[in-house]
């Protein structure tokens, strides 16, 4: 491998990890700060990617749109579309038990995947959508990926600072209070449902942004890329490893887990091709083991959580909603 080869790989790596870090931040808004159990990340990610792709690709006879709009429009619309989906899911499910939300979100993610897979008129079906533009790619030539990386980092940084501000504000403290004990929060006059909805939608918007960034980076998307377990699951591992409730942890976790994931790919690449496909599944096993190991031995992740909430609101040890007695 040449120096340029290594460098270009590192740029690729940092960009992909950055996109996942955006997803991880989105999940942190929902789960880390508000305790919303979303395991439909892949669905929000896909909606963002497809929205952006349909709006920005040149007109096509085989599927919807191809509106040739600027990438910026695609990016914003991706967030909006994904946020809208979050709103639609949230309204019926956020009053229910947290595990019902989990089942509902995975259901929605699967539904979205089935739709993109089966409705060829919409987005090319299983053949997917190609030719998603990155406007300056041709002009920039070999340095295009550098520029894209800079763009991803800039967006990641902007999101990070915006979220840090937001989550340290009174609004953010209410979110955490709800996660700690929704009854106490409700008793102090907070509209728990509205705050939850806001956190779900905001997280959805951020995930939609990530989808757009992904689509324009790889230039081609298909339902295959949004298999729920892989996209959703790895983000969960990232946030758990980094430390949920901590934006820094969400980003570092994303880079770290993506590094582990990529390194295992190197290892399997050395194997003869007959074994390589099978060994690839061992990579996923490793990630699964990592998740369980973190849950068992370091449940707060690498960074743990920054405390903004009074310690008096102690979490009940079983996590359930037991009746407290006096």
């Amino acid at each position: 491998m040449t120096v340029e080869g290594v460098l270009s790989y590192l740029v690729f790596f940092a960009t992909m990890a950055g996109i996942y870090a955006v997803l991880s931040l989105g999940l942190n808004i929902q789960w880390g700060y508000n305790g919303l159990f979303n395991i439909g990340i892949a669905g929000f990610f896909a909606v963002g990617a497809y929205t952006s792709a349909i709006l920005t690709t040149p007109p096509s006879p085989t599927h919807l749109g191809g509106f040739g709009l600027p990438m910026m429009v695609g990016f914003l619309a991706a967030g909006a579309a994904s946020g809208l989906i979050a709103l639609l899911i949230g309204i019926p499910t956020l009053r229910l038990r947290e595990d019902y939300l989990a089942i509902a979100t995975i259901g929605i993610a699967e539904t979205i995947r089935y739709i993109f897979q089966n409705e060829a008129w919409l987005a090319g079906g299983i053949r997917g959508l190609a030719g998603i533009p990155f406007p300056w790619r041709r002009a920039l030539g070999p340095s295009a990926n550098f520029v894209y990386l800079a763009l991803v980092i800039a967006i990641l940084a902007a999101l990070y600072f915006a979220l840090e501000r937001g989550l340290r504000s009174p609004w953010g403290r209410v979110l955490k209070a709800i996660r700690e004990d929704e009854y106490v929060a409700a008793a102090s006059g907070k509209d728990v449902f509205r705050f939850r909805l806001e956190s779900l939608v905001l997280g959805g918007i951020v995930m939609g942004f990530a989808g757009s960034l992904y689509a324009h980076f790889v230039g081609f998307i298909s339902p295959q890329a949004f298999h729920p377990m892989l996209t959703t699951f790895i983000v969960w591992v990232m946030l758990t490893v980094g430390g949920s409730g901590n934006n820094k942890g969400a980003i570092v976790g994303a880079y770290l887990v993506w590094a582990i994931w990529s390194m295992t790919e190197f290892v399997t690449d050395f194997l003869p091709s007959a074994m390589a496909t099978r060994a690839a599944s061992l990579r996923v096993v490793l990630i699964g083991v990592l998740l369980i190991a973190v849950l068992m031995y370091r449940p707060t992740g690498l960074f743990g959580e920054e405390r903004h909430v009074s310690r008096l609101i102690a979490r009940s040890p079983t996590g359930g909603s037991h009746a407290r007695s006096g």
Binding site: T93, A102, F233, I292
Partner: protein, 290 residues
């Protein structure tokens, strides 16, 4: 009309597979209070266990099923011991996340050992029996028969044995079960074993109906959850009814919309139930806590 009857037959077949999956899921959900996302992959694992006994060891198919059920039960108890039990005090959501990890581990180990391709229990085409205009595959009769026998066994077990009653009691009200002096940890082991054995049977029958592939169980997980929620979490009898309803509705929907959307149909029913009767359609009151 014949077409509808044919579809109803398919609905019964799919429904009985979902029923077997749903009984185990509802029991662990009710008793341990967590949604086990590895349940679908346990189904897959069971199906592949049976494949191993059938072709690896050359045992007859029926014996392979029984052996696979036992192996699945042992595997589930071991997984509980290694993964879930140490995390149990940390709440249902931690367990749920862990089960997602277990799901991926199981599925990818299967992919590693058996590869991504389809496998079959039987070679060659089965000629359907013609009866009143219906095409009935002999395998379908097997599926219905095995499912019926197992459901009856489950019923007898839950109604008339001490362990069965304790299981239902724990699914109903865990704290009271502890107050009553039930040795809850022992019953938990039984619950995993029986739930997994039924789930393995479901995977086997699914493989018999179609084919074995690493995602087979995962694809059925949403309909199984739909059945559990429809019947009320922790209620094995609700799960039986819920499973039949979901299976039947999924197949009947193919008369109107693309078969590719069968899983979506289950999901839509589930959302409607969550909105209208979150305690399930047979709720007897008091069983559901929020």
């Amino acid at each position: 009309m014949t077409e509808v009857l044919q579809v109803i037959l398919y609905g019964l077949v799919l429904g009985s597979i979902i029923v077997l999956g749903a009984i185990g899921l509802t029991l662990t959900y009710g008793i341990l209070n967590f949604a086990n996302f590895a349940h679908g992959d346990m189904m897959t694992l069971g199906a592949y266990f049976a494949l191993f006994y059938r072709f690896g060891l050359g045992w007859p198919l029926s014996l392979s099923l029984v052996a696979a059920m036992i192996s699945g039960a042992v595997a589930a108890v071991l997984i509980d011991k290694v993964v879930y039990r140490p995390l149990r005090s940390r709440g249902s959501i931690t367990l749920l996340i862990a089960s997602v990890g277990v799901a991926l581990i199981i599925r990818n180990l299967i992919r590693f050992v058996w590869g991504p391709d389809n496998h079959y229990y039987r070679r060659g085409i089965q000629f359907p029996i013609r009866w009143m205009g219906l095409r009935i595959k002999p395998d379908h009769l097997w599926i219905l028969g095995v499912a019926l026998v197992l459901v009856i066994l489950v019923h007898v077990f839950l109604r008339y044995t001490k362990i069965g009653k304790a299981m239902r009691a724990m699914a109903d009200n865990m704290e009271l079960a502890m107050v009553t002096g039930i040795a809850t940890e022992r019953i938990v082991v039984w619950t995993w074993a029986i739930g997994a054995a039924l789930c393995v049977a479901a995977g086997f029958l699914l493989g018999l109906d179609t084919q074995l592939f690493p995602d087979m169980g995962w694809n059925l997980l949403l309909p199984i959850f739909a059945a559990v929620i429809l019947g009320g979490i922790g209620s094995p009898y609700g799960a039986m009814a819920g499973g039949l309803i979901i299976g039947m509705t999924q197949e009947l929907s193919t008369l109107f919309i693309s078969a590719a959307y069968k899983p979506v149909v289950a999901f839509v029913i589930m959302i409607v139930i969550l909105l209208v009767r979150p305690g399930g359609i047979f709720r007897t009151g008091g069983a559901v806590k929020l």
